[in-house]
Amino acid sequence: MRILVVEDDPLLGDALQAGLKQRGFGVDWIKDGVAAELALRSEAFAAVVLDLGLPRLDGLQLLGKERAKGSKVPVLVLTARDAVEDRVRGFDTGADDYVVKPVDLDELAARLRALVRRSCGEPAPILEQGELRLDPAARTVAWRGLPVELQAKEFNLLHEFMLNVGRVLSREQLEGRLYAWGEEVESNAVEVHVHHLRRKLAPELIRTVRGVGYVLPREPGNG
């Protein structure tokens, strides 16, 4: 899951980036409102962590503009403004969550997971699909009741498929969701990870749609 962190404080932004990476997120960190607007236009983020007191374009203004454009990306506002009217204004401008600094990184990660799964229409915290079971919080996967060891990127890829069951995802989409800027992406990285997932789980689990991308088909009787 790729998260956009918009925070102008260098030490806090650095910590959010490092901490969320430790918790399995792909993180891009932007330091001002205008750059964040550009980033949101060019990339599909699973969620945004948004500071409010930003240079050039205030966080709330940015949020209002994004919502006016019809953006559905979940936004968690992380700010020092703790007054009730600030919180109300935050939610009413389009925030999905509002957290006052300082915040625990584990809590922040949990809130982001909740925002992402709700935005995918999936309220259960543990994702299940047939005999596949994925726990985003514990970052564990079980196949037919047995735990499976996955690399971080493999887990993230499987997580994306589980959040988009029955939907075809292109290679570019998957790359965009897996890799933050500045991360080195090898040209066939997605193919390699899909290959590993098929090997570790089941060969027929993820289907290739030629010329389009990949899909995790919906299992009959699984909603």
Binding site: D8, A15, A80, K101, P102, D104
Partner: protein, 455 residues
Amino acid sequence: MARTGTRRSIRRELLVVLLAAVAVTWIATAIVSYVDARHELDELLDAHLAQSASLLVAQAGHEAEEIDVEHSPQLHRYGRRVAFQFWENGTALRLHSANAPNARLSSKLEGFSDADIEGQHWRVFSGWDADRRYVVQVGERRDARDEIVAKIAKNLLWPLGVALPALGLLIWLGINRATRPLRLLNREVGQRAPDNLAALELGDAPAEVAPLVVSLNRLFARVATSMENERRFTADAAHELRTPLAALRAQAQVARGAGDAGERARALDNVIAGCDRAAHLIDQLMTLARLEPESFRAQREPCDLQEIARFAAGELAPAALAKAIEIELAPASGPPAAVPGDARLLRILLRNLLDNAVRYSPPHTTIRVRVDRRDGGASIIVADEGPGVAAEERGRLGQRFHRLLGTQATGTGLGLSIAQRIAQIHGATIDFAETAPGVGLAVTVAFAPAADEGA
């Protein structure tokens, strides 16, 4: 209110002063009237004596020889006190009134005289008849006159006894009415909630009370401003401390969850940097909080700007050298540029300017500090070769917590606020410009000529 009894009271004072003035004026008038009345009365009664004497002489002169010694009747209540005697040749008593003594009323046989007879004081007029055979003496007892004068005096004074209490009551009511706005004001101010700093209604306050109300309102406004500043400052400070604390906490969590030693070391370094930054922020906040009150008064002693620049440059030199930045202080030109002020504060001002320059300057650049004297005034210029500040952004420099965009510098956003506040306290101005076209930021602190320093 409990101390009212021991305090001067305008009402009581006015009452006492007014009543005393009325009483004194009244009594003085009475005394003058009394003296005057007494004099007039004496003249009048003397004239009566003289007239009575001449009447007696004219009427009774020729009959006196037929009368042995006769008593004439009482005609008036004062009559008893008026007596007359007819003396033949001044020696033989021929005729006298019933109340007249047997001795001659006066030894003087012509004109007015005073006499004491049998313990009584008499006023006597003596006169001869045309033949100079008889002397008539008409006397009036002094106590009769005294009684009349006493009555006049009494009539002059008794109304005062009645009028004074009545006047006192009227004055008291009048003063109460006049001082009512003061009591209302007192109640209004006394019943106020401590946070109610709204202006008092001027209403129809009289001319004596209106200035007090205006002054109170001015004070309220000042207190309200100062409270608002304080509140804003506290809110700002709390707000600005949250982010460094959040950074500290998050960096510590990153260190705890770090996968390898390198990542942990980096996070821990960040924790330390974050602590330093928070400490610096608190220092700056405290400095600003001390300088903030409008009532702040700086010391005023001659400060040598060159000396202050040297001191601040020395303080910042290690930090600059660590970033490969050079600080260059231009040598003093001419006599020392002394401005009246607080050397300690001026050092803080310059240190903040230099600190900013060091933070925002890239390595291998020079920060130039120069002290200028001009038109009796003086200025310090700090010019760096950093990225500078866009002209439209320069106006926002010095706003509290305003940080420049796109730099990694971890400033508090308070340095220039502090510098501007210190400049303001010293009646100096701060101007921002480019060091050279498109390069750097040059900050000029200009002190007004000493002559203008009176304010």
